[in-house]
């Protein structure tokens, strides 16, 4: 079986939907962060796949993927730090219980 662009895109879509589902349904902030990671990685697969099949000589897609990996790392660090801070002050990481900024 020849693995083509479409396969990559299907995997990527599935991954993105799983990520989105996680973000939308989880109450745990850490799980939401993990969902976000999945969505970012889905977009990475997209970028790399497009680069490989549509413009094999170029490196723009791969470079962009690297940037997103970096960004994902930063985001994870900041997000976890926020979760830690929220846990310390509110003693919970369930997002529906973190509502002190609601009017």
């Amino acid at each position: 079986m020849h693995v083509g662009l479409t396969h990559y895109l299907v995997v990527s879509t599935i991954l993105f939907c799983i990520g989105l589902y996680g973000v939308l349904t989880r109450r745990n902030a850490v799980a939401i962060l993990m969902g976000i990671e999945l969505m970012l990685n889905a977009s990475n697969i997209n970028l790399v796949a497009f680069n490989r099949y549509l413009a094999p000589g170029a490196v723009g897609g791969q470079t962009f993927a690297l940037v997103i990996i970096t960004l994902a790392a930063c985001e994870a660090a900041v997000g976890l730090a926020l979760v830690m801070a929220a846990y310390r002050s509110l003693e919970t990481i369930h997002v529906d219980e973190i509502n002190v900024m609601k009017w």
């Binding site: 989105l20 973000v23 939308l24 349904t25 939401i32 997002v95 529906d96 509502n99 900024m101 609601k102 009017w103």
Partner: protein, 640 residues
């Protein structure tokens, strides 16, 4: 040194403000301040008098305002007439101030009394210092104000409050005429300065009937202030004030301001054709003199006897001025100030002891109050005109001038002189001889602070007349004089006759009231209708009641009705209309303006209320909506 004469009225003026602001904290509760200022003024007045005696004169003006392109000047002058007045006001004033310490002791408004007295002294000094009608008029009205304040000093008593009002309003009638006279002079001559007015009269720029009118109008002010017929009715009532006030204001100085005015403006009167204006002055004075003297005979209130005596003596002064006896009138003003102040203060001493004014309740006080008795007899002799006391010299001169001028006036004056001697000794006999008729009273001699001024005034009343005695060439005549009205020379036979008239008056009083050879009741019967007229003071008050007060009150009531129904009605009608308008506006405001405002607010609130349900605060809700939105967009994009 005369250029510093302005300090004289300023001293008591400062005293006035000092006492008004410091009240009981001022030295001696204000008394020492007032007396200090007055004594200072008296010293300066003596100094000024000596300067003037040596021939110095002073007259200075500054421009105060410009009206109709005419400069209006104010200023002061010092001449013999002014210096005599300064001396009289400050010396008599100082003594009365000192006396007041005793008389007013323990009064509720003790400091205020001295404040008012100081203001009065200041105003009076301003009046006599002025070298123009404006300054004089300012002083004139200020002394009127002080008179009002001091007559009504015990305003808790309705009689005092009424008397102060009566005095103020009655003198104001005279002042109106005087103001018109001054205006007439100003319009004709364009100046208020005395000397310029007199030169205007001399050069004939103001002459004939107009001059007579102006002079008589100015004399109207004097009639009011000096209580001459027909505006004399206020002075007897003014006795409601404290006795020192009666002595200083309503006997010695303020009431003499009218006489001073005539003397000061003498060229104005003298220049009228045939001395017409002076004839008016003389007859008003003569009638006042005899009329007040007859009323004085039947008064039982010790101060009212004095009040009528004062009116009568002021009439003499006016008569003296009117019959071309310029010096005689001014001389009588001076002597009268001393002996009438003495009489009043002595009467005050009696009232202080007896707590009543009714001479019928007194009697036998001679033994209990020897100093008061002796000084009062001296005052009475001076008033009656017995030589060598002060009143003799001046009154004899007036009668002499009248004799040479007009026999009718002389007859009035001579009859008045007889009555003067009669009523004053009637009072003395009732008060001091016989036995005490009011048994609850415990009279006592007054304290020294009151008797010492009496003794000093008695001394003056004895000797001051000698300034006009013929033995040393009549120095007063050479000092205060007016060209053309020098007066006749002293006449020994005539003086004898005056003395005889006065002596006869004293004798009659003794016959009727002391030895009781003729009973007072039989006299009352003999004079029948005349007695009744005199007891009712010739019905002057009743006349005014019917001729002036009733019509004025009637007119005032009508005007009040007009005010209440027409003017107030119109105002109220406009008010009602606007109230209705505003009610209408209120409805509009409530439902339209407020309605719009509330609608806006309500809309915002409701929208907020609805939209707030979208703001759940859960990021996942938002994310879900975003995701659904993206899917919707993708679906829309694919279908197109």
């Amino acid at each position: 040194m005369l250029q510093y004469a302005w300090v004289i009225p300023v001293l008591p003026f400062i005293g006035f403000w000092w006492i008004i602001f410091a009240g009981r904290r001022a030295p001696g509760q204000g008394a020492y301040v007032a007396i200090g200022a007055m004594l200072g003024a008296a010293l300066l007045s003596v100094a000024a008098f000596i300067e003037v005696l040596r021939g110095a004169r002073y007259d200075a003006s500054v421009v105060w305002a410009t009206v109709l392109n005419r400069p209006i000047e104010v200023g002061y002058q010092v001449d013999p007439l002014t210096s005599v007045m300064l001396l009289v006001v400050t010396v008599v004033g100082s003594l009365i101030f000192i006396y007041s310490i005793g008389y007013m002791q323990g009064d509720l408004r003790y400091p205020r009394f001295f404040a008012y007295m100081s203001l009065f002294a200041s105003s009076m000094l301003l009046l006599v210092l002025g070298n123009n009608f404006l300054t004089l008029y300012a002083g004139w009205e200020l002394v009127g104000l002080c008179s009002y304040l001091l007559i009504g000093f015990w305003f808790e008593r309705p009689a005092a409050a009424r008397a102060s009002m009566k005095a103020f309003v009655t003198t104001r009638v005279g002042d109106l005429f005087m103001f018109l006279g001054i205006l007439l002079i100003f319009l004709q001559l364009g100046t208020l300065n005395f000397n310029e007015i007199f030169s205007g009269v001399e050069t004939g720029r103001l002459a004939g009937g107009l001059l007579t009118l102006a002079a008589v109008l100015v004399f109207g002010g004097a009639v009011g202030k000096s209580a001459q017929v027909p505006l004399h009715v206020w002075l007897p009532d003014a006795m409601e004030g404290p006795t020192p006030v009666s002595a200083l204001i309503h006997a010695a100085t303020m009431v003499a301001a009218g006489v001073y005015l005539v003397a000061r403006a003498y060229p104005l009167f003298f220049g009228t054709p045939g001395h017409e204006a002076l004839t008016v002055v003389a007859y008003i004075g003569g009638i006042t003199a005899i009329m007040a003297a007859t009323i004085g005979v039947v008064q039982d209130d010790i101060k009212r006897v004095m009040a009528y005596s004062t009116i009568s003596q002021l009439g003499y002064m006016m008569m003296g001025l009117g019959v071309l006896g310029f010096t005689a009138g001014v001389f009588h003003l001076m002597t009268h100030a001393f002996f009438k102040a003495l009489l009043f203060l002595a009467a005050g001493s009696v009232i202080h002891a007896m707590h009543t004014n009714d001479i019928k309740q007194m009697g036998g006080l001679a033994k209990i109050m020897p100093i008061t008795y002796v000084t009062m007899v001296i005052g009475a002799l001076a008033l009656a005109g017995i030589p060598p006391f002060a009143g003799f010299w001046s009154k004899d001169e007036i009668l002499l001038e009248a004799y040479h001028y007009d026999q009718v006036l002389y007859a009035l004056g001579a009859a008045g002189a007889f009555l003067t001697a009669f009523y004053i000794f009637r009072m003395i006999i009732y008060t001091f001889t016989g036995s005490l008729r009011s048994h609850p009273a415990h009279p006592h001699e007054s304290p020294r602070v009151m008797t010492v001024p009496l003794v000093i005034l008695a001394f003056f009343s004895t000797v001051i007349g000698l300034a006009g005695a013929p033995w040393w060439d009549n120095p007063f005549h050479h000092f205060v004089r007016f060209e053309g009205a020098e007066g006749a020379a002293f006449d020994f036979e005539f003086a004898l006759r005056s003395t005889a008239i006065a002596g006869l008056g004293v004798l009659s009083a003794l016959v009727v009231y002391h030895w009781r050879l003729v009973s007072a009741a039989s006299l009352r019967r003999a004079f029948g209708p005349l007695y009744i007229a005199v007891v009712h003071k010739y019905y002057w008050d009743e006349l005014y009641q019917y001729a002036v007060i009733r019509p004025v009150v009637w007119a005032a009531r009508r005007l009040r009705t007009f005010d209440v129904y027409v003017v107030d009605g119109a105002v109220n009608a406009i008010g009602v209309v606007f109230v209705w308008f505003s009610r209408l506006y209120r409805v509009f405001d409530l439902y339209v303006v407020d309605g719009v405002v509330n609608l806006v607010a309500w809309t915002a609130k409701t929208m907020g209320g609805v939209l707030r349900y979208g703001q759940t605060g859960r990021p996942q809700n938002y994310l879900l909506i975003i995701a659904l939105g993206v899917i919707a967009l993708v679906v829309v994009g694919v279908i197109r």
